[in-house]
């Protein structure tokens, strides 16, 4: 039963990792940008949510009213003001600029909030659980995160393939010059993509802050989990990303079951094994 429990909890944890990964996958898909500060933005969103609950008394769930628009605006401004300048054929500028951003964000948060552990109090829902079978309980909170992750991925999928904005994203990603001939301003499109990515980041941050404790230094770890989920699932495949997240969560929990010190190690090893045997991930997107 312990093992089954570990696996089930791991699957639910995978939902959170898929949330970490979805934003990363989105901006890579649209502009081939890898945001090294992605994890730090998740942590920033968690701190924003914390400030909102503390200053307004809102339930952490409801902080999205403020956190989502703030992060979206930040994403758009950041892309147009800074990141658009780094896009081109060279890989160094975007990488180093987002790396610099990561250091600035981490230390900025450290300066404001200190290195203390923080956690948002979500109230009674934190301890609620459903008993599925004898000895197998599913926490309501992890389940909620998992369901939200599925919701987010479904919405992104629909946005990408069913809306004008998604069409513009795909066209711009295919060919920036020709997309301009359609009247699309690719700088604006990229700004929107980053805004949308940071909306997902905001959701991920809020749930990170409710599910686990966090401090300014945990960003890179979240980036790595998101990145591993993306690579395991296959680049450019959103549902693959969910499966990647689940595999990562399950491996971590099984590792922890064997030896508490092996939790993270087991996740990384799963990633490395996938990289060794299926370098393009389990479900690579087949290019048309």
């Amino acid at each position: 039963m312990d093992w089954l429990n570990a696996i089930v909890q791991g699957i639910l944890l995978g939902g959170l990792y898929a949330l970490f990964a979805a934003g990363l996958s989105l901006i890579f898909g649209v502009m081939r940008l890898v945001n090294v500060a992605h994890g730090d933005f998740i942590v920033l969103a968690a701190f924003l949510a914390l400030v909102v609950t503390q200053s307004t008394g809102l339930h952490p769930f409801m902080t999205f009213i403020f956190v989502i628009p703030l992060m979206a605006g930040l994403g758009y401004a950041l892309q147009r003001g800074l990141l658009n300048q780094t896009l081109g054929h060279a890989i160094l500028p975007p990488l180093l600029v987002t790396f610099g951003l990561s250091v600035i964000l981490q230390n900025g948060l450290l300066e404001i909030f200190s290195a203390d552990n923080q956690k948002m109090d979500a109230g009674p829902i934190e301890t609620m659980s459903l008993t599925v079978a004898e000895g197998l309980n599913i926490g309501v909170m992890p389940l909620a995160v998992f369901v939200i992750a599925i919701g987010v991925i479904t919405s992104l999928q629909w946005m990408f393939y069913g809306t004008a904005l998604g069409r513009a994203f795909r066209a711009t990603s295919d060919n920036q010059q020709i997309a301009q001939l359609m009247g699309l301003n690719n700088r604006h499109i990229f700004g929107l993509a980053m805004a949308l990515a940071l909306v997902v980041v905001a959701i991920a941050g809020i749930f990170l802050g409710m599910r686990t404790s966090f401090d300014p230094s945990v960003g890179p770890g979240r980036l790595i989990f998101g990145f591993e989920a993306v690579i395991i699932g296959g680049l450019g495949n959103l549902w693959g990303t969910l499966i990647g997240g689940i595999l990562l969560g399950v491996s971590q929990n099984i590792g922890a079951q064997i030896n508490p010190g092996w939790q993270l190690l087991a996740g990384h090893l799963t990633f490395l094994v996938v990289l060794a045997v299926r370098p393009r991930g389990l479900f690579p997107k087949v290019d048309g």
């Binding site: 069409r167 513009a168 290019d287």
Partner: protein, 235 residues
């Protein structure tokens, strides 16, 4: 020409890094006119199209459209003013279906006769393939999508860059057969074409480019074969 001038370039130059591809081009298109651009490989025809549409930067005053300086505008701004380019090599969006390629061409919502239905009317074969990935079409059908996509923005001026490139003669005929219907409502066109006789046959006026400079210009009907050969090959 009694018609007002629609597009005009003054001393237009274009570079790729250190390499200068165009030298002082003075080029114009009047409203309702069909202008051909001919020239050997590498003469600078595509470069001229890219400079006009804003894919290559130039000083504001070197390109005038509707008498307005547009040289310093970006391509996405120029297309909003009612000019578009059917790019060399078709360049459809591979992630988009046939119909999506058309729809995205019309996303600026400029009013005019062209709609998805009108394009299907012009190229009926596309209708059966509307939900297929654009990459699954034959070369000729892809070219039809590229033309349809450009028409969807209802431009006043459409630039065609070698629509016949790599197509079988019979397909080329099909494509050129659509030209009269495209321009019948007053749309102006620039046609870049390697096939000199076809270029002269479909156009009112023609320019010949040679190594980045205009080597010949005149009404298509009045250009003699010898003059064109000389302007084309520089011999």
């Amino acid at each position: 020409m009694p018609e007002p001038v629609l597009l005009q370039t003054h001393d237009l130059v274009a570079r790729y890094g250190d390499f200068q591809a165009l030298f002082g081009i003075d080029f114009s298109v009047s409203a309702g006119e069909v202008v051909a651009v001919i020239g050997a490989n590498g003469a600078g025809k595509s470069t001229l199209m890219k400079a006009i549409i804003g894919l290559l930067p130039s000083p504001a005053g070197s390109v005038l459209y509707h008498a307005k300086p547009i040289g310093d505008l970006a391509a996405h701004e120029i297309t909003h003013l009612g000019m578009t380019l059917v790019p060399e090599g078709r360049q459809l969006f591979p992630s988009l279906s046939v119909e999506e390629n058309l729809v995205i061409g019309g996303q600026m919502n400029r009013p005019g006769p062209w709609s998805v239905a009108a394009v299907y009317d012009l190229f009926p074969v596309l209708k059966q393939r509307r939900h297929q990935p654009s990459t699954s079409l034959s070369g000729g059908q892809q070219q039809m999508v590229a033309i349809g996509r450009a028409l969807m923005s209802n431009p006043d001026l459409i630039l065609f860059d070698e629509v016949s490139l790599g197509l079988a003669p019979i397909i080329i005929n099909d494509i050129y057969a659509a030209l009269p219907r495209i321009i019948e409502q007053g749309m102006s066109a620039v046609i870049v074409e390697q096939d000199i006789s076809r270029a002269l046959a479909v156009s009112d006026r023609a320019y010949c480019l040679q190594e980045g400079r205009i080597s010949l210009e005149g009404p298509s009907g009045c250009l003699t074969r010898a003059a064109v050969n000389h302007a084309y090959f520089g011999v």
